[in-house]
């Protein structure tokens, strides 16, 4: 049994097999929009990026932000407004959204980063609620109605994005770029420093690291990528609404990360796909979404804090450990 497991694991670690798996995934992503409803997949992609961006601060730097919807929804409104009212082209509108999210992230980070744990969570939540109220009141957001019929424009003036499949591949491309950036970050010295701060902050300080600065950089980066996710989502759906900035969304994205596994690259991908699919299912079933989400949230905290991916990794590691200890 264990030899079989070892064989399977060494098989999985094989370079050629990894490339094969990647190839299968790539093919699936290429074929998917012709078989599955593309808008659903685009929604999944946006949340994969959003949850992974949050994971950068929550999982890697250990900062619980309960205000990430402000970046997502704030960028969504900025992109929507610039694309619709000012006729800004696709790329510039997305960039404007990201810039807004980055500046907002810098502002929130500067105010909150000095406070630890629970206080940081409350501060981000409160500041995000301020953005929510601004979104309710500002004239350009149209309050409850939101901004509707947002034009997608063209990519670099060449590809018409009103075609849903073209938009699908653009969203996919941007999300992959964002994910690569996150991958690069967590496997860089910077990522290791974040992990060091999460594990033992006083030690990181005594090593001479400017802890607050690293946290701030991670927070702004996370905010910017969340903004990218929000901008892409709003252009996919062509609708900017208040639910993108509400505290429920901040909570949901924390759940996505938690359910998949904090501090793992794959975790948020699994978690967000699961939660988006679940919400899609619940929307038509007539069951109350937030009740189900809340119950899963509680169950997740009580029963498997390491998340699906974290738990799987731990199980496999434990199984490999055992035969070794037998031998000694």
């Amino acid at each position: 049994m264990t030899t079989l497991l070892h064989k399977t694991l060494s098989f999985a670690n094989n370079r050629a097999v990894r490339w094969l798996a990647l190839l299968v995934l790539a093919t699936a992503l290429l074929v998917a929009p012709f078989t599955v409803y593309p808008l659903f997949l685009m929604n999944v992609f946006c949340f994969v990026l959003f949850a992974s961006a949050l994971n950068l601060v929550l999982g890697y730097a250990g900062l619980l932000s309960l205000g990430h919807a402000a970046f997502f929804g704030g960028a969504a409104y900025v992109t929507a407004h610039t694309a619709k009212a000012w006729d800004w082209p696709f790329e510039i509108a997305v960039l404007a959204g990201m810039c807004f999210a980055a500046i907002l992230g810098l502002f929130m980070g500067l105010i909150g980063i000095k406070r630890y744990g629970i206080y940081f969570a409350m501060i981000t939540l409160a500041l995000a609620q301020m953005i929510y109220f601004l979104a309710v009141q500002m004239p350009f957001t149209n309050g409850e109605d939101g901004i509707q019929a947002i034009p997608r424009g063209t990519l670099l003036g060449l590809i018409d994005l009103s075609d849903i499949r073209a938009m699908y591949f653009v969203v996919l491309g941007f999300v992959i770029l964002g994910m690569l950036l996150i991958w690069r970050c967590i496997h860089s010295p910077f990522g290791h420093i974040l992990a060091a701060i999460r594990e033992n902050e006083p030690r990181a300080v005594s090593l001479g690291l400017d802890v607050a600065r690293y946290k701030l950089i991670a927070f702004v980066l996370s905010a910017t990528l969340s903004g990218l996710a929000g901008s892409l989502k709003v252009l996919s759906f062509q609708l900017a609404a208040l639910n993108n900035v509400s505290w429920h969304l901040s909570g949901e994205v924390v759940l996505m990360t938690l359910i998949g596994g904090l501090g793992t690259f794959v975790g948020p991908i699994i978690g967000s796909t699961f939660v988006v699919a679940l919400e899609h299912f619940l929307a038509t079933s007539g069951l109350p979404v937030s009740l189900v989400i809340g119950i899963i949230f509680m169950a997740c905290v009580m029963l498997f804090r390491r998340g699906v991916w974290g738990e799987t990794k731990a199980r496999i590691a434990a199984m490999i450990e055992k035969p070794d200890s037998d031998r000694h």
Binding site: Q129, M130, L291, M302
Partner: protein
């Protein structure tokens, strides 16, 4: 008609009054949060949802069984408190050992679930609740007209706050509580059942939120969303005041209510965000909060 800063005095006093009412709710809720945080090291995100539950129980009692406001004032906090005891025993207790963020996330999930449940059963629309007969009518003070119920809310909330403060600061029970906050294992060694005390503290503070919900039922519409919008403001109040001091959280709650009321008079569109702006400014100037110790 007399004016002050270009605003009729009657309007100004009316808004300050409304601010005091909001402030009373902030005070009662942030007081509960502060005590729970002191004893359990838990930020109870579900505090708002439990306040909403208190209001809903009041409404349900009247509309289905015909039980009036005065009975609800006792029954609703008890039910909410019992619910809190169950939650603490079944769930929160097992989270003390792990990172505090998990208990925050648990109560967050609980808040989502409760709000979702009430929305599912009763819909999103607000339910009106009549002001009890004994408290209808107004006081004519000459310079302003004060609805009796509003005066009652402020007095009741302040009395409760004062009572809790006295119990904590001046009685033996309060001394045990304070001691258990500082050093639970030492207090256990003196033969005091600390886990039980923790459970009852949570139940009591949550019941306090339920009590605030009963007071709120005739003023605000009873709706599933009433708790979450309030709790986020209360979080800002708590960040401003710091969780260290019970008196501090009462004072901060009241004064921020008044600031909100004044903003509504002079610059209405900023009234929803003024507390958050104050929080940002306080954090920049005094990161530990006004009355806070660094956490």
């Amino acid at each position: 008609m007399p004016e002050l800063f270009g605003v009729p005095v009657v309007v100004l006093l009316g808004q300050i009054m409304l601010g005091l009412i909001n402030g009373s709710f902030y005070a009662v809720l942030s007081l509960g949060l502060a005590i729970i945080f002191g004893m359990l090291n838990v930020i109870n995100f579900a505090h708002g949802a439990l306040y909403m539950m208190g209001a809903f129980i009041t409404w349900i009692l009247l509309s289905t069984v015909g039980i009036n406001y005065w009975a609800a004032l006792i029954v609703a906090p008890l039910v909410v408190g019992l619910f809190g005891v169950v939650v603490e025993r079944l769930a929160l207790r097992h989270l003390y050992k792990v990172d505090h963020l998990y208990s925050l996330l648990f109560t967050f999930g609980l808040a989502l679930a409760l709000e979702g449940l009430f929305r599912y059963i009763y819909g999103s629309a607000g339910k009106p609740y009549p002001v009890p007969e004994q408290l209808t009518g107004v006081f004519k003070l000459g310079f302003m007209i004060l609805p009796i119920y509003r005066a009652w809310v402020i007095i009741a909330a302040l009395l409760v706050c004062l009572l809790v403060w006295l119990v904590i600061e001046k009685t033996r029970l309060g001394a045990w509580l304070r001691a258990a906050t500082e050093n639970p294992s030492l207090v256990t060694a003196f033969g005091i059942n600390v886990p039980l005390m923790v459970t009852l503290t949570y139940g009591f503070c949550v019941g306090l939120a339920g009590f605030a919900g009963v007071l709120a039922a005739p003023i605000y519409q009873v709706s599933p969303g009433m708790g979450s919008s309030l709790i986020i403001v209360v979080f800002a109040v708590v960040v401003i005041g710091g969780l260290g001091s019970v008196g501090g959280s009462i004072l901060t709650g009241l004064s921020l209510g008044v600031i909100e009321g004044l903003t509504k008079t002079f610059y209405p569109s900023a009234s929803t965000i003024v507390i958050f702006v104050v929080m940002a400014i306080v954090l920049i100037i005094r990161p530990a909060g006004l009355f806070g110790r660094e956490a």
